[in-house]
């Protein structure tokens, strides 16, 4: 049954009405509508999973595990399967996700379509690198198996392809073995931006997972002060004796934000106070410590609807990457713009990326990425970000489509040099642009031979 519903991404901006369907059986998945986008759990921030007045297919009920090889750790599952379900089922058996974003409430299909990255990107690459194969439902109703060997162009056009090549129906994902459900964490305090870059580049301090929380409000001598949070999966011998089952963790308490915060609650003063407190607490942890995977990877998942913190008007997440050669200057300039603008953001994250994915439209490339949340306080935010886009471009960087709700099509084209090649793949499998979204129309991502 189809229904009109108002949908938005995790940023609550924009919110648009679409014709929504939610298949519960595999064979109910179809491509009869003129324009379709598949949607997972709606965790992309902007308009990637919106389709104003057109069709949206909710994939969340197609979440069956189809095969699991206990020897190799290869899991075959439907695209609507959430990472949460995979963790719940396979951690007790000694397996973990090869790549995970900062929330477990995302689907496999969403992870593939956005070619998401995690704190281990500099070591393990993006999600797509761990997908052995997937099945794609095409615009003409046929299905095609894709792997790096079989239909490689379509494979890498779909990895990071934002759902615009077809509907991902099921996939085979390589899980990684773990000895425990715990992480061995080491924090490093950096008093300013140069110090944090030095730590992130220091091979001695580096670890499989690495990310820095960075203060985007403080200027002067605290400009760019950060906490680097490095970690690796703890081995059995690292656990204290009182933990009898290495794969069992204490369930984290869940709280929920029952309503949208009023706009005045977040201002540069309250966020500044939070940042100082947070910095103080994290800074005090100077020696290595154990943390369960849930608290290390998904601290925000314990607060249901945390996106309501930014108020009804919603927020944008701005994430970009700049290559190493320009990074030092680029980060100084762009972070400087944020500090100057006093646009409150708690959650600014700095990370070093490893090499670029083969995905034609994949976001990560070698360099540094910075991500921060910006409440939509007024219309002047948009030209401010356009200005930042120009800076990112100047420094040969790019923005992330899964976070985007406002980028200009020309900017997008300059940031993604392989877009033309992608358009040919799109034209081959979807000549009438059946698979479209508000994002794809805004950025004019139609196929073109």
């Amino acid at each position: 049954m189809k229904n009109k519903m108002t949908l938005s991404g995790w940023g609550n901006y924009p919110a648009n009405q679409a014709i929504v369907e939610r298949p519960e059986r595999f064979h109910q998945l179809h491509v009869d509508a003129k324009n379709i986008i598949a949607r997972g759990l709606g965790r992309s921030y902007g308009d990637a999973a919106l389709n104003t007045d057109r069709d949206v297919i909710l994939m969340e009920r197609l979440n069956r595990f189809l095969a699991f090889d206990e020897k190799t750790g290869v899991l075959k599952a439907e695209a609507g399967t959430s990472l949460e379900e995979i963790l719940e089922t396979f951690i007790p058996r000694g397996w973990f996700l090869p790549v995970t974003p900062g929330t477990k409430y995302v689907t496999l299909g969403g992870c593939l379509a956005a070619d998401i990255h995690g704190k281990n990107h500099h070591v393990d690459g993006t999600f797509g690198a761990h997908v052995n194969e997937f099945e794609l439902l095409l615009a003409n109703g046929s299905k095609r198996r894709c792997s790096p060997k079989q239909n490689p162009e379509l494979f890498w056009g779909t990895v990071g392809g934002m759902g615009l090549t077809g509907i991902i129906t099921e996939m085979a994902l390589q899980l990684i073995p773990i000895e425990t459900a715990y992480m061995q964490v080491q924090h490093h305090f950096a008093k300013n931006l140069d110090a944090v870059l030095a730590i992130l580049e220091n091979k001695q301090l580096d670890d499989r997972y690495s990310v820095a929380w960075i203060d985007c409000l403080s200027g002067g001598e605290n400009f760019g002060r950060s906490i680097v949070m490095n970690a690796h999966h703890a081995a059995k011998k690292d656990l204290p004796a009182h933990i009898s089952d290495p794969y069992q963790i204490k369930a984290s308490k869940k709280i929920s934000l029952p309503f949208y915060f009023p706009a005045w609650a977040l201002n540069s003063w309250s966020v500044r106070a939070f940042n100082s407190l947070y910095c103080k607490i994290q800074k005090s942890k100077t020696s290595p410590f154990l943390l369960d995977y849930d608290r290390y990877f998904y601290p925000l998942d314990s607060i249901n609807h945390w996106n309501r913190l930014y108020g009804k008007q919603g927020f944008l997440q701005y994430q970009f990457v700049v290559p190493f050669k320009t990074a030092q200057e680029a980060l100084h300039v762009i972070l400087g713009e944020f500090v100057k603008s006093k646009r409150a953001s708690f959650l600014a994250v700095l990370k070093r990326f490893g090499s670029e994915s083969e995905g034609f439209l994949s976001f990560p490339k070698e360099g540094y990425t910075l991500a921060l949340d910006l409440p939509i306080s007024g219309p002047e935010l948009f030209p401010f970000l356009d200005h930042l886009d120009n800076l990112v471009l100047k420094y040969e960087g790019r923005g992330y489509l899964a976070k985007d709700a406002r980028m200009q099509p020309e900017t997008f084209r300059s940031m993604y040099p392989r877009f033309n090649a992608w358009q040919k793949i799109k034209a081959d499998v979807d000549p009438e642009d059946k698979f479209s979204s508000d994002l794809s129309r805004r950025l004019r991502m139609e196929g073109k031979r």
């Binding site: 229904n3 189809l66 089922t89």
Partner: protein, 246 residues
Amino acid sequence: MKKGILILGATSSIARAAAHAFAAKGHSLFLAARDEDELDRIAKDIRIRFRVEVKYASFDAEAFGEHPHFFQQVIQNLGGLEGILLAFGDLGDQKMAINDFNLSHRMIDRNFTGACSILSLGANYLAKQGQGFIIGITSVAGDRGRQSNYVYGAAKGGFNIFLEGLRNRLFHAGVRVITVKPGFVDTSMTFGLPGLFLVASPKYVGEKIAGSLNKSQDVVYIPWFWRYIMMIIKSIPERIFKRLKL
């Protein structure tokens, strides 16, 4: 000994959630529904998640003639039977059914006659065995006739009474019969329907269904407050009720 539970109408989201809850407790399952491709996917999923034995076969509630053979097959496969969860049903389209008796007839077969047919076989088997259970999923719609869905309501109401009678009969044989009445649940039956409130997730309902075996209630409303909502609705005098647009 855990011999296995037969789940009829196993492809619905409520049945799937209940199957998960049973499997999580270590029960083997036999899934039955019309759509075999779908059963295959659900069975694979449960085997991987819970590492229990899951078998399945196609079953058509309206094909009464085939029920005896089907039931025999289940017993052979499971080597016995712990109990039955009957989860099939069809909301149908009341507006169409008003003018087309064939549609009403189908709704009654799918919600009532089919249930009587297969549960009669199940009841006799369990009575002979002297233990086991039958859980029937009906609906709050069966508690009082309303103009918007009285054909479905009548079939479910009939099923309520059938279960009541079975409970009375099988009590003496040591077999439990539980009537489950879900309120609004977030399923394909209700997806996008206007005017719904306090909608429960299939997962919640499934866990409550499996959990009903550990409690003593004969008639279980899920969520619990539907008992009181229906109590109020049933207490409205007919001379007033008939004037309402429900």
